[in-house]
């Protein structure tokens, strides 16, 4: 791909003292592509993004945007990129419009018109000083500042955290318009649900390593089905454990529950029907759950409610 690719990370590594925050990450993002960058807090998402933005100096490897080196040519890179930082810090005494004016001047452009349009779509009042804005509204202002210059690449560090679902949808359509024009995006999140509607591919980072890159389509094809059955008699776990692909198998007296990929359903169903069945249920598991199962992204043992748990730690300093 070379210079054709929008973003190219090659062996990107960042060490803080003896702690390796990011370890040999390589990936490519093409034109028009939205790349979902997933991982628990502290896994290295923010470090990757800040390396790409030239805020951090790589310990090894390179990050490129359209062939420009993120560290050595950061000024040129910034001309092409709109950035929403993880914790959008703003100038507390400036209003939204003043932020727009300042960033426009620094970019030598006049983006006030588009900024006003985006702000209106996100239902953001640009006349209020930043210090009076709620977390969600600060996030909206950061989005306005990132998209108003019509950048080729959007680098978004958890852009929709703190934003209510309706506004998230508006943001998603802004993102789709951006990619329709050939723009790309790197979109980080610790929740698959946040990116599954907009991402073309997904990368999972854990403990500084990129452990998987999947097309969202392929992921959906491999999606698991949740199977539950109640029998008229006691059954044993051993009877069903042999079916290849079956996961999370639980047999408790007369009930069975498990997750199974599509390919395992036939074999499983035949074993189940060999017994006297009182009740049977088979449903597609949410993508998220399956995804968590594959890559162990859960921060707490198994409970789906834990997936939204966000700790303040890991977002500060260099931990991200």
């Amino acid at each position: 791909m070379g210079a054709e690719s929008m973003v190219q990370l090659a062996g990107l590594t960042k060490r803080f003292g003896r702690n390796t925050a990011l370890d040999d990450v390589s990936l490519t993002i093409g034109p028009g592509e939205v790349f979902g960058y997933l991982g628990p807090n502290g896994a290295g998402k923010t470090t990757t993004i800040r390396l790409l933005m030239g805020m951090l100096r790589p310990s090894a490897g390179t990050a490129n945007v359209l062939g420009l080196d993120s560290w050595r040519q950061s000024r040129d890179v910034h001309r092409l990129v709109g950035y929403v930082p993880g914790e959008p810090a703003l100038y507390e005494r400036l209003t939204g419009s003043q932020h727009v004016a300042y960033c426009s001047h620094l970019r030598h452009r006049d983006d006030r018109q588009l900024a006003a349009e985006v702000a209106a779509r996100l239902d953001l009042d640009l006349d209020r000083p930043a210090r009076t804005l709620s977390r969600g509204n600060r996030q909206k202002l950061a989005i306005v500042l990132a998209v108003m210059s019509r950048p080729r690449l959007l680098v978004l560090d958890e852009p929709t955290s703190g934003i209510d679902p309706l506004v998230q949808q508006v943001f998603h359509s802004i993102l789709r318009e951006h990619t329709a024009d050939g723009g790309s995006a790197l979109f980080s999140s610790h929740v698959l649900g946040e990116v599954e509607r907009v991402a073309d591919r997904i990368g999972v980072v854990r403990q500084g390593k990129l452990v998987a890159v999947e097309r969202l389509q392929d992921l959906a094809a491999r999606s698991l089905h949740r199977v539950r059955a109640r029998f008229g008699e006691e059954v044993s776990r051993a009877e069903f454990a042999g079916v290849p692909g079956v996961r999370d198998l639980q047999v408790d007296g007369r009930t069975l529950s498990c997750n199974a990929p599509q390919a395992a359903l036939d074999a499983l169903l035949k074993l189940v029907s060999a017994r006297e069945v009182e009740d049977f249920e088979c449903s597609e598991a949410p993508l998220e759950e399956m995804f968590l199962g594959y890559y162990g992204m859960e921060q707490h043992s198994g409970s789906p409610s834990a997936r939204k748990v966000e700790t303040a730690a890991g977002r500060t300093g260099h931990a991200g």
Partner: protein, 266 residues
């Protein structure tokens, strides 16, 4: 006022600078108000003459004659209060220039625009220089105008010379603070080191007549560049101005690569 990093930085300092300017004008007004009673008390000069020599070197200027406006201002304002005020402003502004924006987490926002790090350092430096010169200017103007009201007549050209040297003293230490801030991002350290060095430089210059070791390094002290050649009586000492200018240029030249080579704190 949001057209550049420089103007934005000055805008941020607006209220702070106004506060400083008013305070300095009031301080000068106080000295001017006391002047008539000092003038009619020749014993003040005797009092200073009777101080132990080390003490007199530290807290007054040895040759000062308190019965003239020039001597009075030299002792009361220029040897202590003036430098302290200007140094506090310049050092804290320099230290906050880069590190402060990182402490408030706004550096990512600023640098995500196509603004080079060198530009940020230079604009923050220029804002500190303008602020320091503004304060020295206010102090000089107050001395001349308020002095006239209180019959404390000072030659405007000599006051201007003294204020130029005072501003350069502030900018030297402010630039040191800025260079440390740029290279480390640590505001406290960038404030602390220049403050300690300013005290040492002050002592070296003040005690040079008494301590041999200090006499040898006296001319390296920015306080020597400031008052060593008595600008309030002799006018501008261009060699001292040149030394200060070179010091400042070197510090800014170090600040740019210092900031360019390091990680920015989130």
């Amino acid at each position: 006022m949001l057209a550049s990093v420089l103007l934005k930085t000055l805008r941020d300092q607006g209220r702070l600078l106004l506060g400083w300017a008013v305070s300095l004008a009031l301080i000068v007004a106080t000295y001017a108000a006391i002047w008539p009673s000092v003038q009619s008390q020749p014993s003040m000069s005797d009092f200073i003459d009777q101080m132990p020599e080390a003490f007199r070197s530290l807290f007054a200027t040895s040759s000062a004659d308190m019965s003239t406006p020039t001597g009075y201002i030299q002792v009361e304002l220029l040897s202590f209060m003036g430098p302290i005020a200007v140094l506090i402003y310049a050092i804290s502004t320099g230290a906050g220039a880069i590190g402060g924006e990182e402490d408030r987490h706004t550096m990512d926002l600023l640098l995500s625009n196509p603004v080079g790090r060198a530009r940020v350092v230079v604009d923050k430096f220029l804002a500190m220089v303008l602020g320091t010169f503004l304060l020295a200017g206010v102090m000089g103007l107050s001395l001349v105008l308020e002095g006239n009201l209180a019959d404390m007549v000072l030659p405007p050209d000599k006051v201007a010379a003294a204020m130029l040297h005072l501003a350069l003293l502030g900018v030297v230490f402010g630039s040191l603070a800025l260079a440390l801030s740029a290279a480390t991002g640590r505001t406290g350290l960038s404030r602390g080191i220049p403050a300690v060095l300013a005290v040492l430089a002050y002592i070296v210059n003040a005690l040079a007549p008494l301590v041999d070791a200090f006499r040898r390094i006296q001319k390296a002290s920015p306080f020597y560049q400031y008052v060593g050649q008595d600008p309030l009586r002799q006018g501008v000492a261009w060699d001292s101005v040149l030394v200060s200018g070179i010091t400042i240029a070197v510090l800014v030249a170090l600040a740019v690569p210092g900031f360019r080579r390091r990680d920015v704190a989130a």
